[in-house]
Every structure is written in structure tokens, then in C-alpha cells.
């Protein structure tokens, strides 16, 4: 499936000027002018749902506006293929895996059928994630520039799955990872490419105070008292029970409310179990609000973040942690675990506070509640950090830069 411009959301680059300033946008245009008219192909495994599709939905129209000729292709495959790639995904994150020859064969056959179906004639080809990684077989000799954009944590992959995928990765000109921690030792250049948020998306766009009040009060939350919030799925790796325990320590000293708001657990049996465990830990405390929100709750999440006094992300393990990025963008003081991509966002004592335990989380929440001026400053600096490093426009700039660099290397 090829996705055209009309399918993708179109927000003009000029709409970002009030947020970033005209010079940043002018320089994007200056960089893009060097490669105007060049063709770019993005390939991933889904047109809707998931962070990659969300980013491509924004990236493609922005690249078009900048004068490139981008194309977005989505691979197709049967349910059995996506079951295999889901198992690969878990194994690449370090989970257990039972290697089966037929799974590897199905993976190769589906990649091969997509290779025959799709056209690969662009100057820059960016393959996203492991599902379509074998499409690099379509590369004839050294034509074009092929990049593999890996959005997942490859730091501790299952050796059988990584051993199978690795030869394909080696055939690319470079690989992009979301964090240095997620990268592998590879014989090809590896670049850092942080994930990003769109400040104009429903989840991040500015909301008027009346809307925030209406939404938050609908959930029975008192805007007059401090609100501590963690936005995350009900997943043990997000440590919601640890968050409740930290809140309980804080409550010994000061009045506040806790909100844990996450995606729907209805399609995730383990999520239901974790939610129940958190309910038990909350012990009917009326100031603990456990919100099991449906997937179309972007505005509600936005409002909850904006209404919060402090945002917590007490994960035990984390990818990049875009909920932290969203909170920082909204100028919120953040207390977060030093795991995954969080330390890249939360520079301790500058853009937030890093913690390593329940007790540390409780202490830093108390500290920020007692020092609102400092909390305000952390929030302001966190916002600046996101503006400089983690927005969709930075992502566009990074792609332009890597394309320019690829051309310079090949000269």
C-alpha cells in the first residue's frame, strides 16, 4: 500500500513558527533546498496505530512541503506473518524465543513478496523496524542510500532472532537508533535519532483552561489541590504500584491527589490483572484516581497532563518514554526513573529529577511540592529541551542532515 499526500495530515511548516521561531523553519528550508526534488521512500509495517505511523503521517507532508518527493509504503502480510514479527519483537527486547525454521521462512517469504510488489527506485530508502528489514535484498549493487531506522531497544536481543536479522542490517548504509543504549556494535555507521512529538497534535496542542477544567473535573479530580500524575499503561514495567507507594509516603507529609491514567486494559489480560493489583494497593483512597481510558483519549491525556502539578514516570524499564517528552513540553516538573531514554530527556536538576527507588520518588515529589519556584524552573527548562531536541521539526531536520551527509560521503 502506498500512502499519498491526501491520506496524510497536512499542517504547514509555517504553523510551527510561533512555537519555534522563523529562523529554525527558514533553515529547514535552506537545508532542504540542497536536496530539492530528491526521492525518498519510507517503508514500515502499519499505516495506522503505533508511534511510527504517527510520525510518518506528519513527516511525509512536511518533507513534501520542503520540496522533496517522499513516498510512504506499507508492507502487507498475513496474520501469521505478524504473529512471527510480534514474537521477533518480544525476543529482540530480550524475551524468550523458541526458534522455528518455518517462522524464519515465513518472514523471508513475506519480505520477498513485498519486495516484488513494491518499487524501490528512490535515492533515499528508509526501512523502519525489523518487519521489513529484509527488503534490503531489493537493493541492486550500491544504488541509492539505504537506512535502517530501528525504533526498538536492541540492547539485549535474543541471539537466535538477532543472528537471523543481523546479515540484513549489515547491508544498509547506516542505522538509526532512538538511544545509544538501544544500539548494537555494528560494522555500519550508527546514528542517534530521538523519537519526537508533534506539538500541534491533539495530545500536545495548547488547551484553554476552561477545557482542561471541564475534562479534569469530569474525572472527579480537584483542581484546587496538588495533582501528581503518571500517564502509562497498567503494566508492571511502568511500576504503578511503586507510584502508589511513593504517593502514600508523600501523603504522610502533605495533601495531594494521585492520578494514574492509561490506555484501555480490555484487550490486555495482564493489564486487567495489574489494574486490579493497583486498586488493591490504593485501598479505596478517594484521592487516588485510576483512569482506564480508551485509545481515543488524546485530549483527555493532554488535559490531565496540563492540570498536573507534577508528572511522574516511575518505570522499571522504558523505551524512550514519550510521555515524559509530552509532560516536559507542557512545562511540567517531572520526577522519573533513570531508565531507557529518560536520562536523555530528564537532565537531573536541570530539566527534571531522576530517581532510582520508591523512596527517592516520594522525596523528590515532596521536594518539588515544597519548592514551587524550582518546580516551575525545571518545567520551563524541560520545555526548552524538548523544543530543541524532541519535536517533529527536529526529526525532519535530522533526516535532511543524514541525507546530505550520505550524499557527501558518496561523493
Amino acid at each position: 500500500m502506498t500512502i499519498t499526500k491526501s491520506d496524510a495530515h497536512s499542517i504547514s511548516l509555517d504553523a510551527y513558527i510561533p512555537l519555534l521561531g522563523a529562523p529554525e523553519i527558514e533553515e529547514l528550508r535552506a537545508l532542504a533546498a540542497q536536496i530539492s526534488g530528491r526521492t525518498v521512500q519510507m517503508v514500515n509495517s502499519t499505516a495506522m496505530g503505533g508511534g511510527v505511523a504517527e510520525i510518518l503521517n506528519r513527516l511525509i507532508p512536511l518533507m513534501q512541503e520542503l520540496g522533496l518527493r517522499p513516498r510512504w509504503d506499507v508492507i502487507t502480510g498475513g496474520e501469521d506473518f505478524f504473529e512471527v514479527t510480534k514474537a521477533f519483537h518480544n525476543a529482540l527486547h530480550g524475551g524468550p524465543y523458541q526458534a522455528r525454521k518455518e517462522n524464519f521462512e515465513l518472514f523471508l517469504a513475506t519480505n520477498e513478496s513485498n519486495r516484488q510488489r513494491l518499487q524501490f527506485d528512490c535515492e533515499f530508502t528508509v526501512i523502519h523496524d525489523p518487519q521489513p528489514v529484509a527488503l534490503v535484498e531489493a537493493r541492486s549493487r550500491q544504488e541509492g542510500h539505504w537506512l535502517w531506522r530501528c525504533h526498538i531497544d536492541l540492547s539485549k536481543p535474543h541471539p537466535d532472532v538477532w543472528g537471523f536479522l543481523r546479515p540484513f542490517v549489515y547491508r544498509y548504509d547506516g542505522a538509526l537508533f532512538s538511544s545509544p543504549e538501544f544500539a548494537r556494535q555494528l560494522p555500519i555507521p550508527q546514528y542517534l535519532s530521538y523519537p519526537c512529538i508533534d506539538p500541534l497534535s491533539e495530545k500536545n496542542v495548547d488547551l484553554d483552561p476552561a477545557t482542561v477544567r471541564e475534562i479534569v473535573e469530569r474525572f472527579g479530580i480537584d483542581l484546587a489541590r496538588p495533582i501528581i500524575t503518571q500517564i502509562s499503561r497498567f503494566d508492571r514495567l511502568k511500576d504503578p504500584i511503586g507510584v502508589v507507594r511513593a504517593y502514600q509516603i508523600v501523603r504522610r507529609y502533605m495533601d495531594c491527589q494521585l492520578v494514574i491514567a492509561g490506555g484501555s486494559a480490555s484487550d490486555d489480560p495482564e493489564g486487567e490483572i495489574v489494574l486490579e493489583e493497583v486498586r488493591r494497593e490504593a485501598k479505596d483512597d478517594p484521592d487516588i484516581h485510576l483512569l482506564n481510558l480508551p485509545p481515543w483519549s488524546a485530549t483527555e491525556i493532554n488535559a490531565l497532563q496540563r492540570a498536573s502539578t507534577i508528572i511522574v514516570q516511575k518505570s522499571l524499564r522504558e523505551g524512550f518514554g514519550l510521555t515524559v517528552t509530552e509532560a516536559l513540553w507542557k512545562k511540567k516538573p517531572v520526577v522519573a526513573s533513570a531508565v531507557g531514554g529518560i536520562p536523555a530527556q530528564v537532565i537531573h536538576k536541570h530539566t527534571g529529577l531522576l530517581v532510582h527507588s520508591v523512596e527517592g520518588t516520594a522525596y523528590q515529589i515532596r521536594f518539588l511540592l515544597s519548592n514551587p519556584a524550582l518546580a516551575h524552573k525545571l518545567g520551563e527548562q524541560g520545555h526548552d529541551h524538548v523544543r530543541e531536541n524532541f519535536l517533529i521539526t527536529t526529526n525532519v531536520k535530522r533526516y535532511l542532515t543524514i541525507f546530505l551527509h550520505s550524499l557527501q560521503r558518496s561523493c
Binding site: P23, E27, H405
Partner: protein
């Protein structure tokens, strides 16, 4: 003000970050990394980070110092590593030598800390600089000021700070042009004294506007 023989040519710069194969999980490994990492890695964690985190005007100097504070909880060494003013270095090799000497001295005095595991690892990253000449150039101070308003923070940082390494002089692209092409020695000196440690890049630019406006009004 004399008539320039050459215009000021603005450059657009953008950086890629390359992930190297070096990391540190304790002080000893940081020390070894400082010794062996590439110059582009020293640049990334010092010169470039000062631009990347320009909005932090208190207590943040370079990423080595920040990691020693947050990852190793060693505030004394963090302060010492933060102390060198990168504006006084004309080569990355000299800066590396000083950072290494500070770390060596600390390791000698605190051997018990050398192998202590950090909260999180430090990754040595490298900068890849991509520059393209801008279509803009300035022949007068007025024109220069106007063009400066349209320059991104990254390109401002390139002309104002990174230029020291390129020029091999304790000055910057702007000051060189003011003095050599316009004969404005005083403006050149004032510009060169703007402190990027205690100003954001926007703040530094505002100061530069003030100096230029004063010169234009004179």
C-alpha cells in the same frame, strides 16, 4: 566604519550524532574513554553540548561533568570537570588533556571511587557536522544585523563558538569580520566578551544586537 572588502558569509549548520562503540559504567572507564575517544566525541560532549543545552544557564557546562554528578554522584569531580572554559581552548586535544588530567588527579586521590558502578552508563557520542553556505551575505553592519535575526541558534552557535576551533584564535567569526572588514575593533571585543555560559543563545544574540545598535547609532 570602513567599507569591507569581503562580505560576511553566513553558513547553515546541522549536526548528526554518531553512536560510537565506547561507553563507561564507572569512573575508571570514563577516564579511559576520555583518553581514547575521538576528537569529534570531545567536541560533542563539550562545545556542542554547550550549544545544545544553551537554555541551561546555571551549573551545566559539559556532559562529562553532568554524568559524573548524576551518574556517579561525585559533585567534587563534577565541579572540577565543569570548570574549564571551552572558549579558552583552540584545539580539542588541549581540552582533552586538561579533562584527563583532572580525572587522573581525582582517581589518584579517591581510588575507592574508580570502580564504583554508575547509576546509568555514559555513552561516548560523536558529532558529524554538515554545513552549507547560506544564500545570505552582509556587506554592511545594518545588513548583518538584519541577517542575524534570521539565523537559527545552531548556526549562531557555529559562528560564535565553534569558529574558535576552526580559526585557531580566541575569537569568533563575527568579531573577526567586525575588526578586519569594518575596522570596528571595539565592537569586535565587546562581542567576543559575551558570556555563553551565563546567557542562552537568544540572550547572547540580544546582547550582540544591543552592541550593534549602539554602533549604528553612533
Amino acid at each position: 566604519m570602513k567599507k569591507p572588502e569581503h562580505p560576511f558569509r553566513f553558513v547553515t549548520v546541522s549536526y548528526l550524532t554518531r553512536i560510537g562503540n565506547q561507553s563507561a559504567t564507572n569512573l575508571g572507564e570514563l577516564r579511559d574513554g576520555l583518553e581514547k575517544c575521538s576528537d569529534t566525541s570531545i567536541f560533542y560532549h563539550t562545545f556542542q553540548s554547550l550549544g545544545r543545552y544553551h537554555f541551561l544557564t546555571e551549573g551545566f557546562s559539559n556532559e562529562f561533568a553532568q554524568w559524573v554528578l548524576a551518574g556517579l554522584n561525585s559533585p567534587m569531580l563534577a565541579e572540577q570537570l565543569a570548570a574549564p572554559d571551552i572558549r579558552s581552548y583552540l584545539t580539542l586535544s588541549d581540552l582533552r588533556t586538561d579533562l584527563l588530567a583532572i580525572t587522573d588527579e581525582y582517581c589518584r586521590k579517591h581510588p575507592e571511587e574508580v570502580g564504583r558502578l554508575a547509576f546509568e552508563p555514559f555513552y561516548f557520542l560523536e558529532s558529524i557536522e554538515v554545513t552549507i553556505p547560506h544564500m545570505w551575505e552582509a556587506w554592511t553592519l545594518d545588513e548583518f544585523r538584519h541577517r542575524l535575526e534570521h539565523l537559527s541558534n545552531e548556526s549562531f552557535h557555529y559562528h560564535f563558538l565553534v569558529s574558535r576551533l576552526r580559526l585557531g584564535l580566541r575569537t569568533n567569526d563575527f568579531s573577526v569580520w567586525f575588526e578586519n572588514e569594518l575596522g570596528l575593533k571595539s565592537l569586535a571585543q565587546l562581542t567576543n566578551r559575551i558570556d555563553v555560559y551565563t546567557n542562552t543563545l537568544e540572550g547572547a544574540r540580544t546582547k550582540l544586537y544591543t552592541f550593534i545598535d549602539r554602533e549604528l547609532a553612533a
